[in-house]
Structures are given as C-alpha cells and as structure tokens.
C-alpha cells in the first residue's frame, strides 16, 4: 500500500531531475563540456515566472511559455558571451567548467540582488488534500507536473530523432568537424541546443515553483541531481537522462522509506559511484560517442 506512495513521490521528484538532465545532456552532447550553470538557468526560469505571474499579473499559461522562452534566451546569452569566446580560443574543458561555475555564482547572486534572499511563493489559494489513486495521494499540481514534464521529454526526444535540426544536432554530437564538412554550422547547432536545453531547464524551474517555494540557491541541488541523473542514464543520452532522473527519484524515495531521510543525498551519490564503477555507460549502456543523442 505504502510502496505506491513512495514510488509516486519518487516519480514526481524524478520528473524534475529528468527535465533538468535532458537539457543538460543536449548541451553536453553538442558543446562537449559540463554546463554547470544550467542549474542557475533553472532557478532563473522560476523567478521569471514569478515576475510574470505575480508582479505583472500575466495569465499563468502564457507566463509558462514566456518564462521558458526567456530562460532559453538566458542560456543563449551565456553561450554567446561566455562560452563562445572560449571556444574560439580553443580553451581546454577545465576553462569551460570554471567559467560555468562563475556564471552560476554570478547569476545566483544577481537573482538574490533583484528578488532578495528570502523565499518566494507562487502558489496561491488554499492547500487541499490530494486525490487518492491506487493507494497513493496526488495533487492536481503534481499531475500537471508529471504530464508537462513527460510531454516535454518526449517532445525533445522526437525532435532530436525526427527533425532536420535534430539530425544536425546528432551529427555535431557525433563529430563536429565532419558535420561542418557537410555544411552544418556547429555554432548554430550549439546555439539551438542552448536555447532548447535552457528553455527545458526553465520549464522545470517554473513547474517546481508551482509546487514549492523558490529561492536563489535552488539551482545547486537541481543541477547536481540533474548531472547524476544524466550520468546514470548514460551521459549525453536523452532517453537515458529521462530514465536516469526517474530512477534516481524513485531510488531516493525508497531509500528514505527503508533507511532514513538523512541519507537522501548519500543514496544519490552511492548510485552514481556504483554506476560509474560497474556500468559506466549508464542505463542506456552508451558506448561510443555516436550512439549518444
């Protein structure tokens, strides 16, 4: 009876990890570096939605799309003004990682400066007991979160598999130089990956802000779990990132049930280490570079 509730809790938490992870995977695949600042784009999405809905009183559905699109713009901005100059200089990966930490801290502090350090909440109206479903309880907002995140992940997967731009992304992921030989401009593809990936992170931030309160530091945990989800799913793989997120969420919640809540993060990192040691290709068993996206 209770098992269902823990699994459901895990799926809800996991769907957020998935959404951050797929965007991270997309950017990792095309850009080939750890875009750590992806976490702060997630927080930015939540704050943008807050501004649109609460301060400017714009329709919530329109705000969702607008805030996600703006998060995409933020991601593109980060790429254009920070990463692109480094790419031109052919800077080593470490430089990208450090720059990415720098942006993370910069934007996080900027959010704090603008909105203050205290928590903000977007949800209004009274809190009610959720619906009972197969022995578990789920609220309307949680159903919304599940449906929207599943649709976004699926949409992204179809986009990468079926569309021309998606194919070009896979080509760049496979071999950047060969792709440019056949007329694909890698810079344009990286730009598109940043736009889409960041919009997804923004969407995750907006969805979570419907459920809990938001604060400037919320991005750190999100990106850590997103990266873990991405690695245990098979780094760079989009379905992998999706399943990795769900797997991580469920494992954490079952872990809290059977062990203790204090072990939550420990469980996540133990899973990461186990995967790195025994199945470095992740759930999807990613082997070569080309198979990834």
């Amino acid at each position: 009876m209770h098992t269902m509730q823990f699994i459901l809790n895990g799926i809800i938490a996991g769907s957020m990890y998935s959404l951050v992870a797929v965007g991270f995977a997309l950017i990792y695949q095309t850009g080939r570096f750890f875009h750590f600042a992806h976490g702060v784009v997630y927080a930015t999405g939540a704050y943008l939605a807050y501004t649109l809905v609460i301060s400017l009183d714009i329709n919530p559905v329109a705000s969702f799309f607008l805030a996600a699109a703006l998060a995409g713009v933020v991601g593109v901005g980060i790429d254009r003004f920070v990463y692109k100059p480094f790419r031109k200089q052919k800077a080593p990966n470490l430089v990208f990682l450090i720059a990415s930490f720098g942006i993370f801290i910069f934007i996080q502090n900027l959010l704090q400066l603008i909105y203050g350090a205290q928590i903000l909440t977007m949800r209004t109206g009274s809190v009610k007991e959720g619906h009972h479903f197969l022995g578990a309880v789920i609220t309307n907002i949680q159903i919304l979160i599940l449906v929207v995140s599943a649709a976004l992940c699926l949409g992204l997967w179809l986009f990468v598999k079926r569309t021309k731009l998606g194919k070009a992304m896979r080509a760049v992921a496979d071999d950047r130089i060969a792709a440019s030989v056949v007329g694909i401009n890698p810079e344009r593809i990286i730009l598109a990956a940043f736009a889409i990936g960041s919009a997804l992170a923004g969407a995750a931030g907006i969805l979570i802000s419907l459920e809990t309160n938001i604060k400037p530091t919320m991005g750190m945990n999100a990106i850590l779990k997103g990266i873990i989800a991405s690695i245990i799913g098979g780094i760079g793989s989009i379905p992998g990132a999706m399943f990795g997120g769900l797997f991580l969420g469920i494992a954490e919640n079952l872990g809290i049930w059977k062990i203790s809540a204090g072990w939550k993060d420990c469980i996540a990192f133990v899973i990461l280490i186990v995967f790195l040691l025994f199945r470095p290709g992740g759930i999807m068993g990613v082997k070569s570079e080309g198979e990834r996206l």
Partner: protein
C-alpha cells in the same frame, strides 16, 4: 629605469600625502577621548538558506546600535558596525571572522546566528580573544566552546528539555515523530528532546533528519503516515512551509509541535490557514503584541526603520547588542575587561526577556507554549 624610479617615488609621495590627510584629522580628535570609536563585527546569514532569520536579526542589531549612538554623550565612543555575510555556512563564517579580526582588528562580534557556524568560529574567537555573542545559536555543545563565547539564546540543553517536558505534561503527547534539520542545532535539539521526552514517559516512534534547504518532504510524511503519532516534533527553518503544505496534501493528520523559529510573520503569510493550531515553544517573553513599554517602543522603532515587523531573532539580536553595550560601559571601555563585565550581567531586562549570563556564557530565560489563532501568534491556553 630612472623614469620608472621617478614614477614610483612620485606615487609613493602622493600616497604618503594622502595618507597624512586621512589620518591627521582623526589623529587630532583622538586627544578628546580614549577610543573615538569602537568597531563591532556582525556575522549574520544575510544571504542563503537562513537569510530569512538572519536579516531581521541584523536589523535588530542596527537598530540597537543606532539608538545607542544617538543617545551617547560626548565622552562615549561611537559604536561602528562592520557586517559580514556567513550564508549560514561554517567555512564562510570562519573566513568572515578571520577578515574581521585580521583586517578590521576588532574585539567584539555579534553573531553568528546559527549553531553550526558559531561552533565553527568559536575556536578562532577563543584563540584571538574576541568576544562573540550569538543571538540564535542554541546547540548544547556551545556551552563548552570557550570563555569568549556568549549567547542571548537559551541553550537547547535547557530549552529542549523543557520543550520535551511540556510535550508530555502539558500537551499530553505520548507518541511523536521527530523531523529535524541536520545541523548542529537540529541534531542537538533532537538529542536533548528525545532523551527528556522518553524519560518523561513518551516515545519517539520515528526520527528523520533532512538537509538544510530541503523542499521535498513527501517521503518523510508518507513514512509518518504509517505510524500512529500524537504529534510531529518539527525542527526546521524555512522548510516548515513545504513540510506543512505537503503534510496537508498527503492527508497526514497529526499535530505539529515546533520551535521558536516558527514565530515569523513570513510563515504565517505563506501558510495562511494551514498555520492555525500549530503549537510551538517560545523562549523568553518577547511578544510583539505586548503592551509593555519597552516592547512597544522597540516594535515601533523597528517598524518605522525597516518597514517590516521584528521577529524573535530581531529581539534576541537587539538584546545582544545592548548587553554588549552594557558590558562596554561597565568596563569603562577598557576593551580587555569587557568579557568579565559580560559574565557579571545579571537580570538584564531586554525585549526578549530577563537574562543573566552563567559561567558558560549561556543565558536563562522563561519558556512558554504558543500557538497560531486567527492568524496571529498567541500564548497557548489549553494547557492540560
């Protein structure tokens, strides 16, 4: 080469001249009083996970010091605040204190607010003979952390024990689940509470720790649902909001019994009617609605200065600043004897209650039960 030397000499001269211009006026006025100004450091979580309790505390300190400065006579030195942000992180707190000591050369610090940071900075303060007064650290371990470490918050060794006794005797809780923040404060309070609660005849059927900043409590709440409990003893800061909401959403019916941190208007505002009936323990006698003259003037001054209502920690921090001032005055501004003057403070009447320091630098205060009724914080009446 010669040009370079000339350039350097030129700049050096300029710096010396500027230096004299800056130093000279202050050198003149020094003759009038012994120490023209005394710098007081403030270590508070102004950003990060504990900023919602840190900023009101910092405001309380500013208010106290501004009042003291505006009322001082010409003999008394000006008190100047130098604040550093700890982000409620031990490493940040330690480097902030290092900066205050080595660059600002100061001897007194109000803060840090949280127990973990206070424990982290205590050895350095002790070694450098810097007096620190924490307005919020309540972990039992702080009592033994050194002679220079004071606090205007009561230790959980006392508070937690009373809290547990009240739960058994006054609220008649027998079976509780404990959910606590995994910090020195949370773990310390949980330890004392569990021991005293079980000694009093109650039983702790479940205990779960969570990390500072956690937002997802569904698994913990689901776990509590499978146990029969009278109440959930919750030790949390901002996490209380998500916990209470998710408890409602998951349909857990259990009384919430929490700590003085809960008395924060932000939580009332965010929780709305969900806050009704939450019982918490309250240290000291600070009550913003009190008709007591001291409280009224404090609340008015605070509200007009910061456009927000003072919290429990604003009062504690305000008192900490006044106690430091009292000790400074008692020691006739002989900085080395301020520590001893602090130990001599007995029955200090602050807005947060009447306090005396014991030999560990801990204070004693009244402890009472409070609850939320009709959207306001009230003293708990239905005591059995």
């Amino acid at each position: 080469m010669k040009r370079l030397t000339n350039l350097i000499t030129g700049r050096a001269l300029l710096i010396v001249v500027l230096g004299i211009l800056i130093v000279f006026p202050s050198g003149c006025s020094k003759k009038r009083s012994e120490a023209k100004e005394i710098k007081i450091g403030v270590l508070m979580p102004l950003t990060g996970d504990a900023a919602s309790i840190g900023v009101p505390a910092w405001n309380g300190i500013q208010l106290a010091i501004e009042q003291i400065n505006s009322r001082r006579n010409s003999e008394e030195p000006l008190l100047e605040l130098v604040s550093e942000d700890t982000k409620a992180l031990p490493a940040e707190g330690l480097s902030a204190l290092q900066k205050l000591i080595s660059i600002e050369k100061l001897k007194f610090v109000i803060g840090p607010l949280t127990s973990t940071v206070t424990l982290a900075v205590a050895p350095l303060a002790e070694q450098k003979k810097v007096v620190i007064i924490s307005p919020g650290a309540s972990a039992p371990k702080i009592s033994e952390s050194g002679d220079y470490i004071f606090r205007s918050e009561i230790s959980e060794k006392l508070g937690g024990a009373i809290q547990a006794t009240m739960a058994v005797n006054k609220l008649a809780y027998r079976r509780v689940a404990c959910v606590y923040i995994n910090t020195d404060y949370g773990a310390g309070l949980f330890g004392v509470f569990k021991k005293s609660f079980e000694q009093g005849g109650g039983s702790v059927v479940l205990s779960e720790a969570f990390d500072q900043g956690e937002t997802d409590f569904r698994a913990i709440i689901s776990k509590i649902k499978s146990e029969e409990v009278d109440a959930v003893f919750l030790v949390a800061i901002d996490e209380v909001i998500n916990f209470v909401r998710q408890k409602k959403e998951l349909g857990l019916v259990a009384q919430i019994y929490t700590t003085p941190i809960f008395e924060n208007k932000l939580y009332l505002e965010k929780l709305g009617e969900l806050a009704e009936g939450i019982v918490y323990v309250y240290y000291g006698t600070y009550n913003p609605e009190s008709q007591d003259d001291r409280t009224i003037s404090f609340v008015r001054a605070y509200e007009s200065r910061f456009n927000s209502a003072p919290t429990y920690y604003s009062a504690n921090a305000y008192d900490a600043a006044y106690m430091l001032y009292t000790a400074l005055k008692e020691s006739k501004y002989q900085l080395k004897t301020v520590k001893d003057a602090l130990y001599n403070i007995k029955n200090f009447e602050g807005v947060s209650g009447t306090m005396s320091f014991d030999s560990n630098g801990d204070v004693t205060k009244d402890v009472s039960l409070k609850t939320v009724e009709n959207g306001t914080f009230q003293f708990y009446k239905n005591v059995r």
